[in-house]
């Protein structure tokens, strides 16, 4: 096959292809987490990999988030390139000590001796009616921590390409996969591979307003932009891709062009990533603005179970459209 040929795939399959590729390319890589082996992964991402690579490299763990995340850190210190899967971001809190106090800290605390080339993948976000302990978008918390990098692949290309680049990084990288994306389908070129993990991407060019988002809310935001196009409002949509570090330049270049910014973030508003982005726009692009920045965030409530309440708690296209209308006056 050549690079121009395309194949149908899903986000889940693209992620699996990325893991398979990494396991084939580098003997130091192994996947470890709850039910990644026999079960095939809680979201079926690693389905089939146990048969292909065996139980040493597709390693089922007990329900011991702190121990197996910490073991990933230790293995990385000792020269391996572990991929640790945590079922959901809510469960990652059981390993927060290891992520914060060890993974993010060891390099500095040791005066540059202890690299932690670890990748941690986890599911984030709502939309599946799994209520208040499986639905939150806590990636913004992780962006607070110096020493780690935080990625949010929102497209098939990024699902396929971010993992390998993350594994090349000498420092710990967290990859947040929004649970609503796994069934997203589309095409990838047969030679799709590594992508950069530093820059934001303009997913829709526009002149009137900058819509800044990432991960699970990218498709909602693009839908809102299409609606606005019907009203002759030309919205630019930025997919952040990397949440830490943030690509300030792509954001401020866009705002310099559109003079208005609306940030869409499924996380809670208070102390959020959206707040950080808003502050950076104030600091770096204040004089370019024609209107205050707007934020469309998740409602400040533990996620309720019933569908209508869950939907009401999430940033929807209508709320984005309304925020844009306020911004453009």
């Amino acid at each position: 096959m050549t690079g121009t040929e395309t194949m149908k795939t899903t986000y889940r399959e693209a992620m699996r292809a990325a893991i398979r590729d990494a396991l084939q390319r580098d003997d130091r890589v192994f996947l470890m987490g709850e039910d990644v082996g026999r079960y095939g992964g809680c979201f079926a991402v690693s389905l089939g990999l146990l048969d292909e690579f065996g139980p040493e490299r597709i390693r089922d763990t007990p329900l011991s988030e702190s121990a197996f995340v910490g073991a990933g850190i230790g293995a990385a210190l000792a020269g391996m390139r572990p991929i640790v899967e945590i079922m959901t971001v809510n469960f990652s809190l059981l390993a927060l000590d290891q992520i914060m106090n060890n993974a993010a800290t060891l390099l500095h605390m040791s005066g540059g001796q202890c690299n932690v080339p670890l990748v941690i993948r986890m599911t984030t976000g709502a939309g599946r009616q799994v209520a208040a302990q499986h639905s939150h978008s806590l990636e913004g918390w992780y962006t607070h921590i110096p020493g780690i990098k935080v990625l949010a692949p929102a497209t098939l290309t990024d699902a396929r390409g971010m993992l390998w680049t993350a594994l090349q990084d000498p420092d710990p990288v967290l990859i947040f996969e929004h649970g609503s994306l796994y069934n997203m389908h589309g095409s990838l070129t047969a030679d799709a591979g590594a992508v950069d993990i530093r820059s934001a991407a303009v997913r829709r060019a526009g002149a009137d307003v900058s819509l800044i988002t990432y991960g699970g809310t990218l498709s909602t935001t693009i839908a809102a932009a299409e609606t606005l196009a019907g009203d002759n409002i030309d919205a630019e949509v930025i997919d952040l891709r990397s949440l830490r570090p943030l690509d300030d330049k792509t954001i401020t270049d866009s705002v310099a062009k559109t003079h208005r910014a609306v940030i869409v973030d499924e996380g809670w508003r208070t102390g959020s990533l959206a707040a950080e982005i808003s502050a950076r726009i104030m600091e770096q692009a204040f004089w370019d603005l024609d209107a205050p920045t707007e934020r469309v965030c998740g409602a400040e409530v533990p996620m309720p179970y019933p569908r209508h309440l869950e939907q009401a708690a999430l940033p929807g296209a209508d709320a984005i459209v309304a925020a844009v209308r306020r911004a453009v006056g």
């Binding site: 910490g70 850190i73 230790g74 210190l77 391996m80 290891q98 040791s110 005066g111 540059g112």
Partner: protein, 331 residues
């Protein structure tokens, strides 16, 4: 010099002399730390190991340079026994660039990856998962290495401890768990914090060999650790030693010690690990008072030199404040 030393000590006697010297180095180093702390020369938390020296020295005798060590915040002894240069440890206390962590770690975060010494972890139990991971990496690569992980009795109350005991036993990992049971988690006595105070029994419930050792007797520690390391290297999976010891000094420099009686401390001091070995060596005519005095004087001289070097060493430039948060970008 004793008669034995004068005529060329037999290897065992020379070895005991080396153990004594190592313990005395740790003791004198920490005596100096107290002095420097009181004088305001060094700051932060300083957790003294005085009284527990036999554990670090005895365990270190059982491992090789190829093996790995994971330590705690009370790790001056582990670091010095591991062979981290005295100058680099003292410079770390001063927060200088020549420190073993470039001064960025301080007393609680001594690192030397070239000696496979993976730090100084100041979250109780936080080093245990790292030891699991290092051992897993060794196992996956087919290395014969052992990882020795130090932690205290307090860590046994942490969930992380139990997760790690389970994982190490389940995966048959080459880890030597060295539980330094000094009877207090900071100011809380073991029996006030833990329903079952037989710590070896608890580790043993995970299906690994586990036993208690007299942690004041360096030869007993060495013997136990050697046996355990040999078994681990032969594929015997993780082993657990409960090293019964006692810290003679306060938990840290801020501790008024309201939680224990002075008489208890005095009772334990009768089993001072340095004195215990020195006495035995005197009895077997391997050491004279003059030898012991000379050994101490030489160490004091080395420590004074390390202090002078640390004081004279450059500090990290403020412009480098955020260095080592991330690795340098590849060129």
């Amino acid at each position: 010099m004793s008669r034995a030393a004068a005529k060329g000590a037999p290897p065992e006697a020379a070895h005991r002399r080396d153990l004594l010297r190592q313990m005395l180095l740790i003791r004198r180093f920490e005596d100096k730390c107290v002095e420097l702390y009181s004088a305001g020369e060094i700051r932060g938390f300083v957790h003294l190991y005085i009284g527990e020296e036999a554990v670090a020295v005895g365990v270190n005798e059982a491992v090789t340079a190829e093996d790995s060590i994971v330590s705690t915040y009370r790790e001056h002894g582990h670091a010095l026994a591991r062979g981290l240069p005295l100058d680099s440890v003292m410079a770390e206390m001063y927060g200088k660039t020549s420190g073993c962590s470039r001064g960025r770690g301080g007393s609680m975060h001594l690192f030397d990856v070239s000696r496979r010494f993976y730090g100084g972890n100041a979250i109780v139990g936080g080093g245990l998962p790292l030891s699991i991971g290092i051992a897993l990496a060794d196992k996956l690569r087919g290395e014969q290495r052992v990882t020795a992980c130090f932690f205290g009795d307090g860590a046994v109350a942490e969930g992380e401890f139990h997760e790690c005991m389970n994982l190490a036993a389940l995966w048959d990992l080459p880890v030597l768990f060295c539980c330094e049971n000094n009877l207090y988690a900071m100011g809380t006595a073991l029996e006030r914090a833990q329903a079952q105070t037989d710590l070896a029994l608890r580790a043993g419930s995970y299906g690994m060999p586990a036993w208690a050792v007299d942690g004041m007797d360096v030869l007993a520690v060495q013997h136990a650790a050697r046996g355990a390391v040999e078994a681990i290297r032969a594929g015997g999976g993780p082993h657990f030693l409960e090293l019964r010891t006692y810290r003679f000094r306060a938990h840290s420099m801020y501790d008024p010690e309201r939680y224990r009686d002075k008489s208890e401390v005095e009772e334990w001091k009768k089993r001072d690990p340095v004195d215990l070995l020195a006495c035995r060596m005197r009895e077997s005519d391997e050491l004279t008072d003059a030898d012991f005095q000379a050994m101490g004087d030489a160490l004091t001289g080395e420590i004074d030199k390390a202090v002078a070097a640390a004081k004279a060493a450059p500090a990290e430039p403020v412009e480098d404040l955020t260095r080592f948060v991330y690795s340098p970008e590849p060129i």
